[in-house]
């Protein structure tokens, strides 16, 4: 054995979690196929895979949400049945979900004891929890004000509350599902420090993510899932991101986007002092000014919820605003009868929305009807004055699905039957193929598998190279840095400043995203 003696020693200890031959099918879909995995105690074990690879199903089985069709679960060497989440908690498993499960108008303390109160009276439980939180905070750098209300706390803190909840329930195996999706880089670093501390205290951590960088940075071991199967388990120090990406997708993947330098032309989009107040009376855009030139991609970086969505809504024509927006030098109607999405499209603005399932697609409609969504007034889709030309729409959809490699290429399938990546390809195909002057793109690759990310990025860059203007909004800094020709950072409804991608880095952008003014900027 060539391993270090310490590892050899660990092998003799029973694994914290061992799954043997787990299979689970939903109807005819095999979500998990004969999965075996063994997680050593006191390690951080990453599970990486594309959307729909079966990571969440596997963790749901471990946490008692689903029952496996076949297979066994061993916790610390003992075979354990996990019929529900109570059994999982009893077995020492804690789960931190992607979407937090906290009661908004309860305090941190009340949320922590929710479900594990010791008796009919709350006071003893609360004071016990208060003591225990205090010691946990000291031990793991998990500082949270126990009396703060959940609704007043930021996402980074909420995540710490979720971790505290699990630790309070005496979990020694912690599962985190895509924990950094909503965090700034600084908050993510803080989380990683906490996780490292937990590991050093002997806790076992399973980290589910699709971000290769996180896997490389923090895990000891990584397992790769593809199409319901566990394709590899490797020591993190023995691998590299390119290799992992290849394992995930099953072929070589370009992680860096190839592009020639931009040749910016005249200004396509000019925004001056744009202000927008939402339905609750909160000012979400506080005087935005920026412009996008032909043949360039302007990336808007920022933690989600700082006004980027509202900027897209105003530009896309479904929120009213004040200020001035010009397209090709012509003013846009920002609050009148021509401030709707149809008028925007008529002005050459196409829009790949942030949330394709809520906005970009009608999930129950077949693909061919989604392919004309928003452009269903176009003359080529009309048979006569009364009826639409269904045959023509089908033909167009089939053609686009073939060229954009939408799988399966069946235009009769409902949008909801496609994977996230293929749904996004439908939206991108629809919007790009109208040859817009300006393309608005929100979170183009959220929930999209790596193979499709590469393809979608290519399409956006090709459009830029045809001399079109692109406004890109993304919370993924890597995406912003690799695609943009210019980067504007948004914080609290303001533009904090603009940077060129080759003259900045994640650290500087991260500070600006957190509201710290960069050098030479006026706040």
């Amino acid at each position: 054995m060539t391993d270090a003696p310490k590892v050899g020693q660990q092998e003799t200890v029973a694994p914290a979690i061992e799954l043997r031959g787990i299979s689970k099918a939903f109807g005819p879909v095999q979500a998990n196929k004969d999965i075996s995995i063994s997680v050593q105690p006191g390690t951080i074990h990453g599970i990486i895979g594309e959307n729909g690879a079966g990571k969440s199903t596997l963790m749901s089985i471990l946490y008692g949400f689903y029952k496996a069709d076949e297979g066994q679960i061993f916790i610390h060497g003992n075979e354990t049945q996990i019929p529900d989440s109570q059994a999982a908690i009893a077995a020492g498993i804690g789960m931190v979900f992607q979407h937090f499960k906290l009661v908004e108008n309860f305090s941190v303390l009340e949320n922590v004891i929710l479900g594990v109160e010791d008796g009919p009276m709350l006071r003893p439980s609360l004071s016990k929890a208060r003591k225990s939180l205090k010691s946990l905070a000291e031990e793991y750098e998990l500082h949270v004000d126990p009396d703060a209300l959940i609704e007043d706390l930021g996402v980074g803190v909420l995540q710490r509350v979720e971790i505290l909840k699990a630790l309070y329930r005496e979990a020694d195996i912690l599962i985190l599902d895509e924990p950094t999706g909503v965090l700034t880089p600084a908050e993510a670093d803080h989380l990683f420090r906490i996780l490292n501390g937990l590991r050093d205290q002997g806790k076992t951590i399973i980290l589910i993510t699709h971000k290769l960088r996180e896997i490389m940075e923090i895990t000891d071991t990584v397992s790769v899932m593809r199409r319901g199967e566990m394709t590899a388990t490797v020591k993190t120090k023995d691998t590299n991101p390119e290799h992992l990406a290849e394992l995930m997708v099953g072929r070589k993947v370009l992680l860096r986007v190839d592009k020639v330098p931009a040749k910016p032309g005249e200004k396509i989009l000019e925004i001056e002092d744009l202000r927008m107040v939402d339905d609750h009376g909160v000012e979400r855009l506080k005087g935005i000014s920026l412009n996008v030139q032909a043949g360039e991609i302007l990336g808007i970086a920022g933690v989600s919820g700082n006004g980027q969505s509202q900027l897209l809504e105003v530009l896309g024509g479904y929120a009213k605003a004040t200020g001035d927006i010009r397209i090709n030098g012509q003013h846009l109607d920002l609050s009148g009868s021509r401030s709707d999405a149809r008028s925007r499209r008529a002005r050459g603005i196409a829009h790949v929305p942030e949330d394709r399932q809520e906005h970009g697609l009608i999930m129950e409609f077949p693909a061919w009807q989604n392919m004309v969504f928003g452009y269903h007034h176009a003359p080529e889709y009309q048979k006569n004055k009364l009826l639409m030309d269904n045959a023509k729409m089908l033909e167009v959809a089939q053609d686009k699905m073939d060229r954009f490699d939408v799988r399966p290429p069946n235009p009769h399938l409902a949008a909801k039957s496609f994977s996230g990546g293929n749904q996004q390809k439908i939206v991108v195909a629809r919007e790009i193929e109208r040859h817009p002057d300006l393309l608005l793109v929100g979170q183009p690759t959220r929930g999209v598998d790596i193979g499709a990310i590469e393809f979608i990025h290519r399409q956006i860059i090709d459009l830029r190279d045809q001399g079109k203007a692109v406004l890109l909004v993304s919370v993924e800094l890597e995406e912003i840095l690799s695609l943009s020709d210019r980067i504007a950072v948004m914080f609290d409804g303001h533009i904090m400043g603009e940077r060129l991608p080759d003259q900045t880095d994640e650290r500087e952008l991260g500070l600006m995203m957190a509201g710290v003014t960069g050098k030479g900027d006026v706040a």
């Binding site: 024509g317 009608i362 969504f373 928003g374």
Partner: protein, 365 residues
């Protein structure tokens, strides 16, 4: 991946739902000491056993097609229009005014104008709730229910104070002139040498209803407006992204819905009663909800469901006429059908889906 074949969804499940409803109804009939088999026989022979029975079944079905389509079209836009009853009452008023005060040379002209009158009045009655929903967010379910009561009061006032024949104690309008009388199925079939009951009220409106099914189908699934209505109904947020105006869709869908409900009156008021009476709608507006529910909001499904409810209506009145089974029990049977086809649909759907999934798995594995 669909959980089961389409035929199971559109045919097998409604059939099973109906079967359960009938079995339960049979038990209820048994419980009051009557013979359920005999009762079913009597319903069938009463509703389908003669051209007289058919005539009534089809007459009722005509009403239900109009109101079922009305509910369906609103439902496609995610509007639950419960106001079909009131819209049909006011539509009846429109038909009556047209027939009473405009002199017509021939019934065909009268029919066209009366259709317009009924539709315009019915639509007008739907416009106010639609506007309140689209602009003020007042829930259309609440407002349309309230408008049913207002419609009943308006009709009452109009019949008692305006349209009542002088000296008559009957709150009803005068008889419509001869030239507005619609040909019944008897009149239509007689030249073809087919004999059909002279007494049955089914009339030319049945064909208008069938045409309405086709028009609604084309509107919803082939036209741009239908595309927008369906998109809005499934996802209002996405529709706004696509530039579809929620205000426009809510207004249009409710106008079409109210118009169809109002148009029903060419059948009951112009075709059958030949004058406007109180309670001429007889709950058809509400039955339309069940018909739309059972017909899966599809014009063809609505047609079939309307025929079923026409059968239940006619068969049920025969039952109460000839047996000791009270009229109320017929309503119980109808309610059971609505309960199982509409509200408890998932009770049957779940197990059937599992059977199909297991079957698919066994064939695959």
């Amino acid at each position: 991946m669909d959980k089961m074949p389409k035929w199971a969804d559109v045919a097998l499940i409604p059939f099973l739902n109906l079967l359960i409803a009938f079995v339960l109804s049979g038990l209820v009939i048994l419980a009051i000491g009557e013979n359920p088999i005999k009762a079913l026989q009597m319903m069938i022979s009463g509703a389908l056993g003669s051209s007289y029975g058919w005539g009534y079944t089809l007459y009722y079905a005509t009403n239900f097609i109009f109101t079922g389509l009305a509910v369906s079209i609103a439902f496609k836009a995610a509007m639950f229009n419960i106001g079909g009853e009131g819209q049909a009452m006011i539509g009846g008023l429109g038909v009556a005014l047209v027939c009473l005060y405009i002199p017509f040379p021939h019934w065909s002209v009268a029919l066209l104008v009366a259709m317009a009158g009924g539709a315009i009045f019915g639509a007008a009655w739907a416009i106010i709730p639609a506007y309140l929903q689209a602009r003020r967010g007042s829930h259309v379910v609440i407002t349309t229910i309230m408008f049913n009561f207002i419609a009943a009061s308006v009709l009452n006032y109009m019949l008692v104070n305006v349209l009542r024949v002088k000296g008559s104690m009957d709150p009803a309008s005068g008889r419509f002139p001869e030239t507005t009388h619609l040909p019944t199925l008897h009149d239509i079939l007689a030249p073809l040498g087919i004999s059909f009951s002279r007494a049955a009220p089914v009339n030319v409106s049945l064909f208008i209803a069938l045409i309405a099914c086709v028009v609604v189908y084309l509107l919803l699934w082939r036209s741009r407006l239908g595309y927008e209505i369906r998109a809005f109904g499934l996802s209002p947020d996405a529709s706004v992204y696509a530039g579809i105006s929620p205000f426009k869709i809510i207004m249009i869908a409710m106008i079409l819905s109210g118009g169809l409900s109002g148009m029903m009156s060419i059948n009951n008021t112009m075709g059958e009663a030949e004058r406007l009476v109180l309670n001429s709608v007889e709950g058809a507006g509400f039955i339309g909800i069940a018909v739309a529910l059972m017909g899966r909001n599809h014009p063809f499904g609505v047609l079939l469901a309307a025929l079923l409810f026409g059968f239940l209506y006619q068969g049920g009145s025969e039952l109460s006429l000839w047996t000791k089974i009270p009229r109320e029990l017929v309503i119980v049977i109808q309610a059971l059908v609505i309960l199982f086809t509409g509200a408890l649909d998932n009770m049957v759907r779940g197990p059937v889906e599992r059977i199909f999934i297991n079957y698919a798995k066994r064939r695959a594995g």
